[in-house]
């Protein structure tokens, strides 16, 4: 076959795959079940995809209050009274990102199951 024919075949394969991948990404929204932990014990478990109303959770710790803000598909530490405020600067919790941690008040916000669970099983991503 001519090189040109091959180029057409290959580029159409790329386009088809790109469309398929877009389709897969849109159809399978990964589960966004988030756990909020204080002092190592579970405070609340929320599915961010089923959240409709915005709300706030206030946790009292050794160094004062932590206010967690939740809306649809979104969770962040709105304010904290601890000295360093690393958890506030972390911003929203993201898929594939690091969990939100407030060390002074021992608060951890993280996904209950990682969306890339399959990779963890194959021992990949090293």
């Amino acid at each position: 076959m001519k090189t040109r024919t091959w180029i057409i075949i290959l580029s159409s394969a790329v386009i088809v795959c790109a469309v398929l991948w877009m389709f897969i990404l849109n159809s399978s929204s990964p589960s966004k079940i988030v756990g909020i932990y204080q002092d190592g014990s579970l405070v609340e478990k929320i599915d961010l995809n089923s959240v409709t109303d915005e709300r706030e959770i206030t946790l009292n710790g050794k160094f004062g209050k932590n206010i967690i803000f939740i809306s649809h598909g979104h969770i962040e530490m709105k304010s904290a009274e601890c000295p360093d405020k690393i958890c506030v600067k972390h911003g929203a919790l993201e898929i594939g990102g690091t969990p939100i941690v407030c060390l002074p008040n021992k608060v951890v916000i993280q996904f209950e199951e990682t969306p890339y669970g399959a990779d963890a099983k194959t021992g990949a991503a090293e």
């Binding site: 076959m1 090189t3 091959w6 290959l10 394969a13 790329v14 088809v16 795959c17 790109a18 398929l20 991948w21 897969i24 399978s28 594939g96 890339y116 399959a118 990779d119 099983k121 194959t122 021992g123 990949a124 991503a125 090293e126």
Partner: protein, 169 residues
Amino acid sequence: MKIKNLILTAILTAMALVAFTIEAAIPPLTPIYGIKLGIANVFTLFALYALGTRYAAALLFLRIVLGSIFTGQAVSFIYSLAGGVLSFILMILLKRFFPLKQVWILSVLCAVMHNIGQLLAAIFMTATVQIIYYLPVLVISGIIAGAFTGLCAQLVLMRLKKWSDSRYS
């Protein structure tokens, strides 16, 4: 088996191993496992066209075995072998249809096959069929990476062809 060819295969294997080891040391560009350039494939392709099927098979197998020992990941041996063997079978089956100027196309097909082989191995290892969702991405990355490595091999082959025309088919 000519001594000259044997030595050439050994040198090519060493070069492929170096490329493989360096590539393994580079952190992955994407969170999706399996997307990488596969520079080592350049040497397999070169050996197939310049030396022949037997030498290329020896190179490939040695590179996979030694490569997993050098990078220290026993798991990756299974993936490399699954992808390598599948793509190599495709390579020798289709080689006759591709003249020297179309080596890169053969490389693209083999790279895609390599990724499919690795995906099948992953499905088998983890017993999760859902990984098949990665297929489109792996096909795209295979086409891009295969075109690049294929072009590398093709350019080298065409340069060397001018020097010793009789050796290359």
